[in-house]
């Protein structure tokens, strides 16, 4: 309405004024213009003076302005303003048409449940259907332009009509398709590219720099993109599960902490029950109350990993009535459950009950192997649970090879001066470089009391050691605890959600569980938790402020945890603990598993994307380290990919040259299904023997369902593409406007057209209006 009124008044649509230039065609030269202006001014001033007395101030101003404007308008018309446009020459220019052929076009979020694809089919009907009913966009385009149709999803292909589209593409690669079409039309006069899509890109996904680069490239080439948006930017009601955050490998028997993003629209107040399934068996459930404001929240599921091997975990929420899209209520992920035990080293500077009860707690866990070394007297050690006669025979390890063979280290009550500087540095590197876990326990010779304040280990600890940590007071020749205190231990908020401290899924029940446990004792003076640390358990003693009892943090590649009490074993032995109570066992096992389970192996492997298309390149990456966990760049690395049909193909991996120890290779799956990748490394720097490291990962081909996730139409992205390339975003029913816009493109083969502006209706109406105002004022005041 507005646009057509604008066009009638000014003779051209707004876009013409936007694109074109207004020039004045001066017929008489500057002298006459100046003379006319002076004459007009004199005439105006004379009239103004003569009438001044009878009009009053406001009337004088009004009359003067109306008359001045009328004269100015006539003068302007005499200067013959013109709109200079470059119009495309009919049938001499090419318009590329990109039609979205991805699966998200099947989503029926249109009126009366119509799929998005319907708008495309209506705009570009078959030859037979052409000419019937309302003019389709395709027909209009063909009248003026040479059109080239392309379908696109994960790839781009020429088509002759929309009927060739099946809407089965597994991905939407907007930017890639635009670039490819621009390349294909590079040698032709291109008026622009019409892009018909829902804008739900599943490839670029947030890669801002790629987007900016592509758009800049199109703009430099002078190609305007005219997106036609289909689909709705927000569903009436929908629940979508995001990609679950699951580690690629977990230890059997571990409690998995799975973070599952969840986004709900229009379902406020409803509750959703999220289920996690392992091969059809429900292993965890969680109920969440939906806020319905389309904000992404996350559900944390704790699920046990019970069976070793490749597991397919599925997550699902039963569809709500009226949900537009139900395919996004399910997610699946592949995970490897490993049964290779973790190796830990527990070193105590003196015999302590903590060691006995920790050993008992982990005894029932086949995936945890804790070798214990106890200093029973000066220079005398007692070894328990060592694998062979040679393990720890020389006391605490003094080589990287020996120490780094463990996945985790537990330090009990042992003073820092026991270790050499090299050993302390090695312990720090064990966490930061090797990626192992370090657990430090409270005790008379631990933390500040053990003299750790100015050692490399102080960096690793998740808490600060206070300056005033008193040197142990001597009673005879041995220290006596000076800061002994009893602490009632409770989980923090973070602790109630953490897989180590969450003994009950319900936070309140979890807190109660801890509340019923007897108090523990601590003897160390400790500083504040470090900024990056998470306090899982805290203790309340005589002082009002709770103090951290169990806290964890990342340090470099590894993990660091401190248990500041000295007698966790009380939770096993106290008379108030029922015999069948497993709190001490569960907490100890979880803590040790958490500590060491993420310790990288000497050979790590990954495949990206983890869900690929058949025929898509899957990049296999490996990181190779020697026994001292130093990266090896000249190893011989080979991957064996076993397809679902059992066929094994070898893929050599080469050093990438970009990072130390990093190798990569490419495999292209030829059929759908789960593929297992096994990598072996050998050669320089690695011992050629049976213990040559090997690693396994998995990927799945042919099951990509990205199109149903984050599937709302994204007109914002389309608008951005339009704006950045100089085009404009249209709705499917704006075919005429699109055509006008395209006709005014400055690219392609064009012809210059000058349009006079003095004779447009707007000028006449304005002049008429001004004179009418002049007359009106005069008439009202009784002037001639």
């Amino acid at each position: 309405m507005f646009l057509s009124a604008f066009e009638w008044l000014l003779g051209s649509p707004p876009v013409a004024f936007e694109r074109g230039q207004i020039e004045l065609l001066v017929p008489w030269g500057l002298f006459w213009i100046a003379a006319a202006v002076v004459g007009a001014l004199v005439f105006f001033l004379l009239g103004y003076r003569r009438l001044g007395r009878r009009l009053g101030k406001r009337g004088r101003l009004l009359l003067g302005a109306a008359r001045f404007a009328a004269i100015a308008l006539v003068l302007l018309c005499l200067l013959r303003p013109q709109l200079v446009l470059s119009l495309v020459v009919p049938q001499e220019n090419v318009v590329g048409v990109l039609l979205d052929d991805s699966r998200s076009m099947q989503i029926a979020d249109g009126e009366e449940g119509r799929p998005r694809s319907e708008a495309l089919l209506a705009a570009f009907p078959d030859e037979a259907a052409a000419g019937r009913g309302e003019a389709a966009l395709g027909d209009l385009l063909r009248e003026k332009f040479v059109t080239r149709l392309f379908r696109f999803s994960e790839e781009t292909r020429r088509v002759t009509g929309a009927s060739e589209l099946g809407f089965t593409g597994a991905r939407t690669d907007l930017l890639g398709s635009l670039t490819r079409v621009a390349d294909e039309l590079a040698s032709l006069p291109v008026a622009g590219i019409v892009l018909m899509s829902d804008g739900a890109d599943t490839v670029a996904g947030g890669r801002e720099e790629d987007l900016d680069q592509t758009l800049l490239d199109l703009r430099t080439r002078g190609i305007r993109v005219y997106p036609v948006a289909v689909g709705r930017p927000e569903f009436d009601a929908d629940l979508e599960l995001g990609a679950p955050d699951v580690p690629a490998r977990v230890l059997r028997g571990s409690l998995l902490e799975i973070r599952l993003p969840l986004r709900a629209t229009g379902l406020a107040g409803r509750t959703a029950r999220v289920e996690a399934l392992d091969e059809g068996r429900i292993i965890a459930t969680e109920t969440v109350r939906l806020s319905g404001d389309s904000v992404e929240t996350a559900v944390t599921l704790l699920a046990p990993a019970e069976e070793a091997g490749v597991r397919r975990l599925r997550f699902r929420v039963a569809p709500f009535p009226g949900e537009v899209l139900t395919r996004n209520n399910e997610q699946s992920v592949l995970m490897e459950v490993d049964d290779q035990p973790l190796r830990l080293l527990y070193f105590e500077g003196q015999p302590r009950w903590e060691l006995k009860f920790l050993r008992r707690a982990v005894a029932g866990d086949p995936e945890l192997h804790v070798a214990c070394l106890i200093r029973t007297a000066e220079g005398k050690f007692y070894r328990v649970d060592v694998a062979d006669a040679g393990e720890l025979a020389g006391g605490f390890p003094d080589t990287r090879e020996e120490l780094f063979g463990y996945d985790g280290v537990i330090l009990g009550s042992v003073e820092a001066s026991f270790f050499s500087q090299d050993q302390l540095n090695m312990l720090r590197d064990f966490v930061s470089q090797r990626g192992g876990g370090l657990l430090t326990l409270g005790g008379t010779s631990a933390f500040g009391e053990g003299g750790y304040r100015d050692t490399p280990l102080a960096e690793v600890l998740p808490l600060a050691l206070p300056e005033e940590a008193a040197p142990p007071a001597d009673a005879g020749d041995r220290p006596v605890p000076t800061a002994f205190r009893e602490l009632s231990v409770l989980p923090t908020r973070a602790g109630s959600l953490h897989p180590v401290a969450r003994l009950d899924p319900d936070p309140l029940a979890n807190t109660d569980l801890y509340r019923n446990l007897p108090p523990l004792s601590a003897v160390n003076r400790l500083g504040r938790p470090k900024p990056g640390a998470t306090v899982l358990l805290e203790g309340l003693g005589a002082s009002e402020e709770p103090e951290a009892v169990l806290l964890v943090q990342r340090f470099g590649r590894g993990r660091s945890a401190s248990l500041t009490v000295q007698d966790l074993w009380v939770w096993q032995m106290d008379a108030s603990i029922p015999l069948e109570d497993e709190t001490h066992e569960v907490l100890s096992r979880r803590l040790l598993r958490w500590l060491a389970s993420e310790a990288p192996r000497r050979l790590e492997v990954s495949a990206a994307p983890a869900k690929s298309l058949v025929g898509e390149r899957v990049t296999l990456r490996a990181r190779v380290e020697d026994e001292r966990f130093l990266a090896v760049n000249d190893a011989f690395v080979e991957a064996e990919v076993t397809g679902p049909d059992g066929v094994i193909s070898g893929v050599p991996l080469r050093w990438t040259g970009q990072g130390d120890g990093e190798y990569s290779g490419v495999y292209v799956p030829t059929g759908p299904g789960t593929h297992q990748v096994e990598i072996r490394a050998g050669g320089a720097g690695l011992r050629e023997e049976s213990e040559a490291p090997r690693a396994v990962t998995l990927f799945e081909a042919g099951v990509v369902d990205d199109e149903f996730f984050d599937a709302e139409a994204d007109p914002e992205l389309l608008a951005r593409i339009a704006e950045a390339t100089g085009g404009r975003l249209f709705e499917p029913d704006e075919a005429e406007e699109l055509l006008t816009d395209l006709s005014l493109a400055e690219s392609g083969t064009t012809v210059v057209e000058r349009r006079e502006l003095w004779n447009v209706p707007a000028v006449f109406l304005l002049l008429f209006g001004l004179l009418a105002a002049d007359w009106g004022v005069r008439h009202a005041r009784g002037l001639p």
Binding site: P351, W353, L355, K356, T376, A377, T444, F484
Partner: protein
């Protein structure tokens, strides 16, 4: 006061003294064979002295307390034989030889004490006269199943064994008491012990006579194991390690007995704290 009055008063006084004396004699006679109730009261009294005693108290925060289990027994023999001198002398050696952070004084605890679980190592003697109450049986059973470790010492001969075995049968029904061979790690936890020695009581040790008592001619180390094969109770039968600790400073008591007893005691503790 009249003469008659003085006589009357004197009569009353004499009568009272005589009657009171008879009472005292009767009390001391019954003290030789106290009733169970009296034993419990005596024990409780001893405990009160020990727990709240002004001399030592029980300062918290040590890694280890050498703890004696106080139980009910019949006859005069009981848990407190050689107590506390044996305990103190053993602790001197333990603290000197190992780096264990141990409380330096004796520590006795009733089996029914709610704090029993704070001391995962228990030492007890003279179990040939043990006659535990049901509460004590339940408490000890629970303690051992939770991970506590009990060392039994100083009882001799078949009769005392039978009593001990019966009492243990009440605590851990169905669990056999098995011989522990010399290749068991308990004999190498700190010192290398290669033979089981019969340690005599102080009298026999000083006199240099036979080392056995009653019909307990051969020293034996036995144990009770849990379902996972872990040692819960360690039994020293026909031997008296406690006397060897108690009289270690006596120049007439043979040194090799004391050395052996210290080695065994330390091995038991190091083993208990690691397994």
């Amino acid at each position: 006061m009249s003469r008659r009055g003085i006589l009357a008063a004197a009569f009353v006084l004499v009568t009272a003294v005589l009657f009171g004396g008879t009472l005292l004699v009767r009390d001391s006679a019954s003290a030789l064979q106290p009733s169970r109730r009296q034993i419990r009261e005596m024990l409780a009294e001893a405990m009160r002295e020990d727990l709240g005693g002004p001399r030592f108290g029980r300062p918290p925060g040590h890694d280890f307390y050498f703890t004696r289990a106080a139980y009910t027994s019949y006859g005069w023999r009981g848990w407190s034989v050689d107590y506390p001198k044996a305990d103190r002398q053993f602790l001197i050696g333990l603290r000197r030889i190992t780096n264990l952070d141990s409380y330096e004084n004796e520590n006795s605890v009733l089996l029914t004490d709610p704090d029993l679980g704070k001391y995962p190592f228990l030492y007890t003697v003279e179990v040939g006269h043990m006659a535990m109450t049901d509460d004590e049986v339940l408490a000890l059973r629970r303690y051992l199943h939770q991970g506590g470790f009990l060392v039994v010492d100083d009882f001799w001969g078949t009769a005392e064994w039978v009593n001990f075995a019966h009492e243990m049968g009440r605590v851990l029904p169905g669990r056999p008491i098995e011989d522990i061979s010399l290749d068991h790690p308990v004999f190498r936890a700190f010192f290398e012990v290669n033979e089981i020695v019969q340690v005599p009581n102080v009298g026999q040790g000083i006199r240099g006579g036979p080392t056995w008592e009653r019909d307990g001619y051969h020293p034996v180390v036995r144990g009770i194991f849990d379902d996972e094969g872990r040692l819960m109770v360690l039994v020293n039968w026909n031997t008296d390690l406690g006397d060897a600790w108690e009289w270690a400073e006596n120049p007439y008591y043979p040194l090799h007995f004391s050395n052996y007893a210290y080695a065994m005691g330390i091995n038991f503790i190091i083993y208990a704290m690691a397994h």
